[in-house]
Symmetry: D2
């Protein structure tokens, strides 16, 4: 039986249209990078977060602290970790780095819902929680 | 009976996140401005282009020629005109100006479809074509 | 002498291109709305946050909690308040509402810098801090 | 001596935030895909299109025809070809496909400028035109 997934890393390059007139990645794009890492995580776990079916995963909170800028053409890594698994919620941590230099650290909390109507929170289906586990976080 | 609409103008300001590291509006955002003007046109005609129902209006072509740059905080106008009305298609012209200075000129062709499945082109419903007419275009 | 500004509200409509396939505003756009409210705040205070000069205002943290969805064409308000003023930093609170219904609550911390190089934090110029004051926040 | 480059292809996946409420890639993002392919082309030619120096490459026209939709998580290819090289301009063709199915066909014209001020069109530097040639286009 395959191991449960607790973290996954994507690597990609900054696109020109993601950079603002201060010549750095506009801060709003970091939330998009975190979402790219999130979908890649679930794909690596053998699941699809958006199947167009009865399940939805709305975000209830998302935050970033910015340590250093990212510039056009920079290659960076976005590591997504499972920080905590609740009954119907999940909290991620996202670490964005460039060649090991910390760039930004994010967190995001999502909830598993039956999209309804009415939309309502439901416990994580076994198909999801059986594939993942919380990461061992170190300082 | 109210007049048919052939043109409509929106006025707005360039947002910081729409500007790239050359300190000008990234060209991809002009297509979004044209779409904003499009929805404002239909709203002014008393109709909604996106009702979440059986009708859809996919884009089949969109183009812009860029004459002069637009910068952060600039106020500009986007005028949308009906260039031609076909049986199930429609062609717009969009003129973006800043204080009368031509900034960009766009065109966009959309098709009226029954979203299906299968999706298929259908004639414009009377509710739409009865509210609009082609604009008298001048050089 | 004119009063110091502690809060300012913008009102605008959700654009089609800001909505995702769950038919709600993509969460990354709320950070852009907060930035729009930020620039409108400084404009209302008679100042420009981006003058292309020696001063810069990088973001060091930004967060949102999402209470309810916003949909295409919804009109909403984004109120920006000064939560705290530090020697070279500033913390905003942003309240996004639709007809009084809480949609999302954000916070953002920025730092005043001399863009250099090297970039370094500097005390807020008097021109800025003389025009603003922290808002009286109520629950 | 290495061959001149006339075409280059990138492969990537549709991100969730690029899809609209019709569950298809928002048409404005195709212009961003074309730009990604453009920067990848120049990188493959051993050059950087944005060096932050005296040269700039503003877009004077960009167009797309849309043949079929692209959906979340779809993998697609964007092939960029040099359609024509002028004294100070350049025209690209961009073919977006998914598993060989034509999705969209774009064109874009850029101009080589000295960013000034004043900004003015200049002949392509040898470092650029010595590395590229027009592609043999077939129907």
């Amino acid at each position: 039986m395959s191991a449960r997934l607790s973290r996954n890393t994507i690597r990609r390059r900054v696109n020109f249209y993601e950079v603002d007139q201060a010549a750095i990645v506009h801060f709003s794009n970091f939330y998009r990078y975190m979402e790219e890492a999130e979908h890649a995580f679930w794909r690596a776990a053998g699941l699809a977060l958006s199947d167009g079916g009865a399940l939805g995963f709305p975000r209830v909170a998302a935050a970033f602290e910015f340590h250093a800028p990212l510039r056009f053409d920079d290659e960076f890594e976005a590591e997504l970790l499972i920080a905590a698994i609740g009954r119907s919620s999940l909290r991620y941590t996202c670490r964005i780095t460039r060649d090991g230099t910390p760039i930004a650290t994010g967190t995001m909390t999502i909830v598993c819902v039956d999209v309804g109507p009415p939309m309502r929170a439901i416990p994580w289906p076994a198909a999801f929680v059986d594939r993942i586990e919380a990461a061992q976080l170190t300082a």
